[in-house]
Assembly symmetry: C2
Homo-oligomer: 514 residues x 2
Amino acid sequence: MTNRGTRRGGRRGAAAAAASGENARKVDYHNLRNPFPPMSVFSDDEIANMHDTALRALEELGFKVLLPEAVAYYKAAGARVEDDMVFLGREIVEAAITSAPRSIVGRAGSREKDITLELGRLVFQPGAGAPHATDLVRGRRPGSAQDFREYTQIANHFDVFQMMSPSVEPQDVPTHLRHYFTTETVLMLTDKFPFVFARGTPQVMECFEMMRDFRGLDDAGFEAAPHCYTIINTNSPRTLDIPMAQGLIDFARAGQLSIVTPFTLMGAMAPITVAGAITLSHAEALASITLTQLARPGAPVCYGTFTSNVDMKSGAPAFGTPGHFQASVAAGQLARQVGLPWRSAAGSAANLNDVQAANENQMGLWGCLMAGATVVIHSAGWLEGGLSVSYEKLITDAEVLNMVAELCAGAQAGPDEIGYDNALSHVDPSGHFFAAPQTMARYDTAFYDPIVHDYANFGTWTDRGAEDINVRATRYWQDILEKDVRPDVDGDKLAALQDFIARRTEAGGAPPES
Amino acid sequence: MTNRGTRRGGRRGAAAAAASGENARKVDYHNLRNPFPPMSVFSDDEIANMHDTALRALEELGFKVLLPEAVAYYKAAGARVEDDMVFLGREIVEAAITSAPRSIVGRAGSREKDITLELGRLVFQPGAGAPHATDLVRGRRPGSAQDFREYTQIANHFDVFQMMSPSVEPQDVPTHLRHYFTTETVLMLTDKFPFVFARGTPQVMECFEMMRDFRGLDDAGFEAAPHCYTIINTNSPRTLDIPMAQGLIDFARAGQLSIVTPFTLMGAMAPITVAGAITLSHAEALASITLTQLARPGAPVCYGTFTSNVDMKSGAPAFGTPGHFQASVAAGQLARQVGLPWRSAAGSAANLNDVQAANENQMGLWGCLMAGATVVIHSAGWLEGGLSVSYEKLITDAEVLNMVAELCAGAQAGPDEIGYDNALSHVDPSGHFFAAPQTMARYDTAFYDPIVHDYANFGTWTDRGAEDINVRATRYWQDILEKDVRPDVDGDKLAALQDFIARRTEAGGAPPES
């Protein structure tokens, strides 16, 4: 910083220097630790009762497992089995909790993009898995390959998204070839920790092979650490379907990461109470985590929940509600008891990126933050309860996440910051601090610089066109796409990947399993 | 509840009953206790250093006090005085902190509308003091008497606003008569704890007289408890102007409540660091609190701050920023050390009620909540950094505050809520909980019922006109105004009030002092 300590004419000088960007702030939005004190919604005794009830449900009510290979794992561990019903003793579950790792390093395209998942860490993932995409230029449409590429590239732009999501479903790519397209795209357009869908062993194994080779690893190197992750949704209540059970086994055996997520809507597929819904979710999560540890003790797995409520008048899912918030907090209490890294989720039920969408997403986000969630899924861009992702919402939510990342950095209060000598004693009553030594030393680094929030006064803002933030957000994502920044990619590895895809496509691809 | 326990055909029956509103939820949004764990941004040592530096600043740098009567109070207490500069020893400040009450009951129009201010309580006030009003029907305009009446009536509708604010400035009412208009309006249209501007002794004394008589009290009864409050802004840095100093004295002598609020913008009228700005704010708050206790030991007073940062590129105030959030949290740490009830503030710099406005306000709100603020000022409706209040934003922010109030109520996790017997064991794998006994007993009371959030799916929402939430918010405030619900008012007391106002108006009113 060349001008530190020199007087530049106070406010005008500071403003000019700040506007020139000559001394950019140093921020680290990648390695975040949650600075918010964990909240409790239930007492320790209540949490213990919920844990005990979940174990009792697994023992006495059982868990329906549609994949015979998974049933066999449970049976071999000592579970009582009747056809596809598994009655899982608590000692089997407790052994699995013990063998699951407390800290997981997810390997990305470069070491500085690796992520560490453990209690206390904080990782954000952009909104994921939507069948539709929407933006203010082209409107709402079924997700396409172009949308998948664009959404991936926009999300990759923001350091605060430390892991990639399945984003939007490229519906114009045939399902038996879709995993080739998505894998090639995420490896070319991002170097962050990538996602792979668990849509049956053939697709999963091909994805692992593509990632292994693109990362320049052999089987042992690939399996020594997770290089990708999947999300495992149970079919609540108490059902694990074939591709999900297979995914838990395939990812565990290959040392890759499963994030277990019962998606339980209170009043529909889960009890109407937070305590009941989270007890069910806990049971399903524990049974799923157990399967990973039976397939490979020590396999990387995250605990998780995504629990909100339906609107009892219409049956429609709602997000960012008090129930959603409390469910995250309750899940956090159980996660801390279990000791594993875990995920929760934000999200919005709104149909456009309006004030409802913003308020729902942020309410859901604060639930996750105060719950101590390690991973916040759907932290940005998610509309319609996940039926669409919005390009503008991805930008406006990223602004919020950037501010949360700033809060993770904390603040200092040494003598220089308290500033008796360099600020307080320099300014007369009713004076200003523009030229105080403390201000001069910090004017271009003190504050977060927003991406689309606008602080212009009403007159200036009107003169500039009286824009809604969504207009600025549109320009922001258009600019990201126009600049088309991509990570460095090894040309030989890319050629090999494309050759692999061509050969497998020629051979007929791999249809998803259901 | 007539249908509890009877089967009504599951989801359809529950939906129909819920839609009929036949068994409304019981909620209490008036008496709130903050359920969020208090956050710290600085260590205990750092906070102690900030407190000590604030006391040192008052002792060594001094505090400019423009009202001779206030200077005389400080001098009589032992402060060193040079002209209008007061150098305040820490023993005087510490004695004042000791004599200020830890718990304050603000008396409203009825006992159930009274508020208790003490650490751990949570009270919201709608956005206040704006020169302009705006709504989607009539656009942005200078505040008028009509706006003041309407804004008061809309705010009064929501239980979650437990105290009234100065809302919007009725610029079409002459300044020497304005306090008659505002006092009459708030006494007629609300029965909540009211606000009085400290604009000089003549206006303040007339407001006290009007309130005393309207509440049917004598002087002793009025002065025995606060029946109104004011906000005292210092002129940062380190200046207390004439009307503010006079207000502190007048309110204290009459046993009415002052909420002390240095309004410090980091990088402008305050140090550029959170630690420095809050140290300055702390010093100014302590000096102001001290004056109330010198005027009347035990007088009701709240600690407070409103600290955010400017945008260093433009000098414009910014709100809902990381700096704003951290400043609230740091102030909360100092407030807990001092032990007094205290206020912080949310707010937005946006120029319309868009996603920026929502995100800024909610970010500022969470700073206040995690700081443990007793009173959250500007919790709704505030745009342009306070230069306008938005009717639609008042509604959409009230939705967020309602949800926070729901979180204050907590959740239960007894056997009925965990629901092994009445829910979990009743539903087969992959089944649904619509007809479980637990659901049937709770379907119409389980979840918060939103006021303007819409959970319709995209098709239904499109068929209904594809409305932005602001359209629904407009209908909502229009409906409140159309219904024109008012508290019961004693006709004789109202006639006496209006007679008082007519006589005083005839006599020339009372101009504000500055």
